[in-house]
Amino acid sequence: MANIFPKWTNIAPLKVAACLLLFVGTVVLGITYYATPKWTEVGFQPIQPVAFSHALHVDQLGLDCRYCHTYVDRSEHSNVPAASTCMNCHSMVLSSDDRLAPVRESYESGEPVPWVRIHNTPDYVYFNHSVHVNRGVSCVECHGQINEMEEVYQAKSLSMAFCLECHRNPENFIRPPDEVYNLDWQPESAAAQIEQGEKFVHDWKVMPPQSCSGCHR
């Protein structure tokens, strides 16, 4: 009687196992890489009704964040400025430029400029801007180098893991409160950052919540 299984079947299970391993491995890798806000949300750069450049206004002209986002240090919400804020300067500068037509329209009619919101957390996340900026968490920690952006895009994932990275070790990120709006500030060294961070966390009793209800309600 001839052999029921030909010779090639000797290594067939090995081959199937190798293929399965390859299949599962790459699928897992793919999901790890793509199924996260680091891929889905980072880089979102919608076309805005007015091509406002933070690089020009902040980096070149030296406007403070709070000139426009005035209530960031006393409200949970960092306000998008009203058209009247733009018109403080643009009633004189570029006062008939086409690019600013939506702003002038909004200023005259009272209808808001339809800015596209970029940075979004789920509605069950209660993020408070004022408590962060008043405790030495700079704008750049969540928004990236927004002072260098010609066109704003989402730079950080804003996922829960991202929040917890700082909530667990605030001393790695906290800076002196008067440097919060200085987006180019750098600590002298990593060690200096930890040292002043730990001092600040201790002196100001910074206790970022890590329990669910700290941020979720």
């Binding site: 793919g30 002209l61 403070d64 005035t70 919400h77 004189m92 069950y124």
Partner: protein, 219 residues
């Protein structure tokens, strides 16, 4: 096996070229795979709301009504013991004294802290046009069209009562926009105090520098 690996590598290349890499720029709204309760029917600041004719959550003040309280200190606003802060210190809000004239002096205590607050707010909101030293040469000045920026160091403004400067900050004047909604009343008074300091400094001489600071300035 050879076929499988070939097809699989082709699939990987296809997926990567379709989905791209992390951080690549995109004009499209992010993909929400499980949008459970991410979007709730609730009022968010500056949010959209189809219920109102103008489509927004933030409601403008109803005509004929007066505001009660400032900011989000709602507890005190709705308390039975609430007294209108305006009635406690009217000049702090109006810039006018009891006779209805522009107030001279300040309705609050002027101290170091107050001056530093004024400096901070001045540098954020005023220096853009009026310049860090108040000479009217702010960064906006370099642009065509921005020709009517007043120097704060001129005689007329040095003689102007504090209350009138406060009023100008609150409501704006000519080309200048109103800053009343950006600065609290006490912050506006702090800015007035700092403007006074700038005016003093502009016409000061070496003799006005206190002894202990002279060496710092190399005098």
């Amino acid at each position: 096996m050879r076929y499988f690996i070939g097809i699989w590598i082709f699939l990987i290349i296809a997926v990567v070229s379709l989905l791209g890499f992390r951080g690549s720029k995109s004009k499209d709204q992010p993909l929400y795979v499980f949008p459970d309760m991410d979007w709730q029917a609730k009022y968010l600041p500056q949010g959209e709301n189809k219920f109102f004719a103008d489509g927004r959550n933030d409601r403008p003040m109803v005509p004929g009504t007066a505001g009660r309280g400032y900011g989000n200190q709602l507890a005190s606003v709705f308390s039975a013991d609430y007294t209108d802060p305006v009635s406690e210190n009217p000049p702090l809000y109006s810039g006018k004294d009891d006779e209805g004239e522009w107030m001279r002096g300040f309705p609050v205590e002027v101290n170091d802290e107050f001056m530093l607050l004024g400096q901070q707010k001045y540098d954020i909101f005023c220096a853009v046009c009026h310049g860090a030293s108040g000479d009217g040469n702010g960064v906006v000045k370099q642009y065509e069209g921005a020709t009517l920026i007043a120097s704060l160091l001129q005689e007329r403004l040095m003689a102007m009562p504090e209350g009138e400067i406060f009023n100008t900050i609150t409501h704006g004047k000519l080309n200048m926009g109103a800053y009343g909604m950006k600065l609290r009343p006490d912050e506006r008074w702090a800015v007035v105090a700092y403007v006074r300091a700038l005016q003093l400094a502009s016409s000061a001489s070496v003799d006005d520098v206190p002894e202990q600071f002279k060496s710092e300035l190399g005098l």
